[in-house]
Amino acid sequence: MSEQTQSITIKERVQNFIEDFGLPRLIITGFLILLLIIAPFVGADLPTQISNIINRFSWNGILVLAMVPMVHSGCGLNFGLPLGIISGLLGATLSIELGFTGPFSFVMAALLATPFALVFGSVYGWLLNKIKGGEMMIATYVGFSSVSLMCMMWLLLPYHSPNMVWGMAGKGLRTTISLEGYYTQALANILQINIGNLSIPTGAILFFAILAFAMWAFLHTKTGTAMTAVGSNPDFARSAGINVDRIRLISVVMSTWLAAIGILVYEQGFGFVQLYMAPFYMALPAVSAILIGGATVNKATITNVIVGTILFQGIVTMTPTVMNNMIHLDMSEVIRIVVSNGMILYALTRKTEGTK
């Protein structure tokens, strides 16, 4: 009974975007609230859980934010996120290889990743301009191809730093590289707040906030509004004198760069660089997160990003603990797969103009 009243008050609080929330999102929100209510009763520590969610939000937020520009310009959901992630990984490994340490290596990684992201993003954007209408499928496979190409490269590129290469062979990068001594928690430690079991990585959240604000501001500049115009009605935009291809290219480059920075932020939280096959399916959680937040294939806002990331990461972190404590049956993996892919399916089957 108490659960019901609770969900009603929540419902009232989010009344304004419940209209375009849709049933699946409502169910997911309800599910997360249910988890939060159950958690204390089954012996899970609520402050720990909440700081887990906040932490995971700070790791993943920017990767989800990377979806926004391409959705705005009508390129659809960026299933080619791994391409940007690879730029980030190149920056990270180069920064370590060149001997930078401590939090400064994070700055260098971001700087070194930028040229890669710009180049890869431009090529990727040029390609997507050639195949308007089929972006999402091709993006997926561009991501896969680049990840598998880089698998070879991680072995072949002349990296030498003993912290990264296989000890025995003396060459070829390891599958996971520890960031201890480099930029682990580089952002999270800035102004970190600790109250009992609750800890908030203020720096990482601030970093996300800055980028999110920059994105919001950009979308209100002339180029930004042009981007929205291109996304909502390309023919109209063209007749208004907007260079559609150029705008789309900018959006793709932005998305790729954000993905590169996003993976670096993820790594500073996680504490490890994961190479080889790890970036393979990294697009899917980001895609489903923004969709859970209320975005559609051709409409996404910063609010969608924030809400979606909290909901998605909330479910991902809460279900294992709650389920394990409650019924000693960890079905969280199955729930994650069904929820995230179900959400993408739901979005793909919505009737939307644009993208066509």
Binding site: M277, A278, Y281, E333
Partner: protein, 162 residues
Amino acid sequence: MKIKKRDKATWIVRGVTLLIVIAIAVLMFIIGRGHTIYFDNKPFESAGDKIEAPYKVEVLVGGEKVARLKEGERGMVETMGQSFDMQLVITKEKNGKSSKVKVSLPIPYNMDGVVINLPAMLAGKGPEDYMTEFVPTPSSAELEDEEVVTDETEGLMDFGDE
């Protein structure tokens, strides 16, 4: 009216097809049931009744020799279907003459593994005497809990390789 008739005909065809498929499935259940047969060439004892085991028994299934059992030995073969045919070449004593026997046995459906005591069977005992269910003791590897790997990137590297 005509359409209705055709509809009826299609439904009959569908029904018949379904029945045939079910019939095939049932047939497969019967002819495809696999059993593991173990042959024991061991002396048989029950209620004061004692049957000596012969010196050597060779078991042939489908013309192929699957086991050559000295006294006290056990052999096995995997078989399919509800009846099991085999040929036994029995040598009672060392360097003695051998005799051939053809045997056809119905195998109980619910037993995965069946142990047949050959001496008892040859002495004409009933199946309830010479046939016992083989209960496998799970190996330690089988009892050990294994981590289930459901990683989506698993198997990306081997497309149809062993």
